[in-house]
């Protein structure tokens, strides 16, 4: 089973606003546990912590400094 790691849909209102991935705290290929802090994204000077939605192996899809929008998939856990 593959679980997407997504930028949350409802943390800000403006659909056109872009965020940037500022940090990955787990490496590509690392084993992660549900709820573990794995990434940070920033929008409007607000730093959001992204946690693992499932146990498994992380595959990173978007890199540090990549621009993302609400709902974008930034990684997957298998």
């Amino acid at each position: 089973m593959v679980v997407d790691v997504k930028v949350p849909q409802d943390l800000w209102q403006d659909d056109g606003m872009e965020a940037v991935i500022t940090n990955w705290l787990a490496s590509d290929g690392a084993s992660v546990r549900t709820g573990a802090l794995i990434a940070e994204i920033m929008v409007e000077k607000s730093q959001f912590e992204v946690t693992a939605p499932a146990d498994g192996i992380l595959t990173i899809a978007k890199q540090i400094d990549d621009i993302v929008r609400k709902g974008d998939v930034i990684g997957q856990i298998t």
Partner: protein
């Protein structure tokens, strides 16, 4: 232990202690140990950078140069950009749990954070609004501005928790307009990091330049007590 004194709304803290207090309270909120915390604080002269800047090749050199002239550099957890700290600045930190059953949004958190500041300015006869200010340090859409100059800057950190989000919201308020030396330190830091950005002193305004000075300290004290009242600072349980 850091607590709000009975009468003085502002705690004088070492910057490292203030940052540690923020980290601990955010953890408390996220763990459900408390639902709200607030602090007005001030600290020694220093620069505070978001952690992403530490990846820049010139960062270590920029930190060393700044520390050599009395501005040690600390990293913080909230977003944004480089800011100065020091005696002319007072910070308001609010920690709270995002509303359950409704989507918490960063815009709402910024309004909750800045409402006490804007109300206190209004009580002092000063009209304020939100907006970006070109040339201001750590510029952003949710600056509190007066006559087009930056009076307060804002930033946040959000942490998922069971049933919602833990929110750390921070405002940096200028009691004094930054002097040329402070601006030069910021610009030097950017140059040393290889960042093409220039900060201008005239983009900022401090409280002392906005109010009739019937005693600078008394005016500042009244203003900050208003913010403390409106931010419900006095109702915050004393926590270590």
């Amino acid at each position: 232990m850091i607590t709000a004194a009975a009468t003085d709304p502002v705690r004088e803290l070492a910057l490292a202690d203030a940052l540690a207090w923020e980290a601990a309270r955010l953890a408390d909120i996220a763990a459900g140990r408390c639902t709200f915390s607030a602090l007005l604080w001030s600290c020694e002269p220093a620069l505070v950078a978001p952690s992403r800047l530490s990846r820049l090749p010139g960062f270590a050199r920029a930190c060393a140069q700044a520390a050599d002239v009395g501005w040690p550099v600390h990293l913080r957890a909230t977003g944004g950009d480089l800011v100065p700290q020091g005696p002319g600045i007072v910070n308001l930190t609010l920690m709270f749990r995002g509303p359950q059953g409704a989507a918490p949004r960063l815009e709402d958190a910024y309004r909750r954070l800045t409402a006490p500041i804007c109300e206190a300015l209004c009580d002092a006869g000063i009209s304020s609004c939100y907006g970006s200010v070109p040339g201001a340090f750590c510029d952003g859409r949710f600056n509190v501005t007066v006559n087009g100059q930056k009076f307060a800057g804002t930033a946040q950190r959000w942490r998922p928790m069971v049933g919602g989000e833990a929110v750390q919201a921070h405002a940096l308020m200028l009691m004094r307009t930054p002097d040329d030396n402070t601006i030069a330190i910021l610009n030097r830091f950017y140059r040393d990091c290889g960042i093409d950005r220039v900060i201008h002193a005239k983009a900022h305004v401090g409280l002392q330049d906005l109010v009739q000075l019937d005693g600078e300290k008394a005016t500042q004290h009244r203003f900050l007590r208003m913010i403390a009242d409106r931010a419900h600072l006095w109702s915050v349980p004393r926590v270590s």
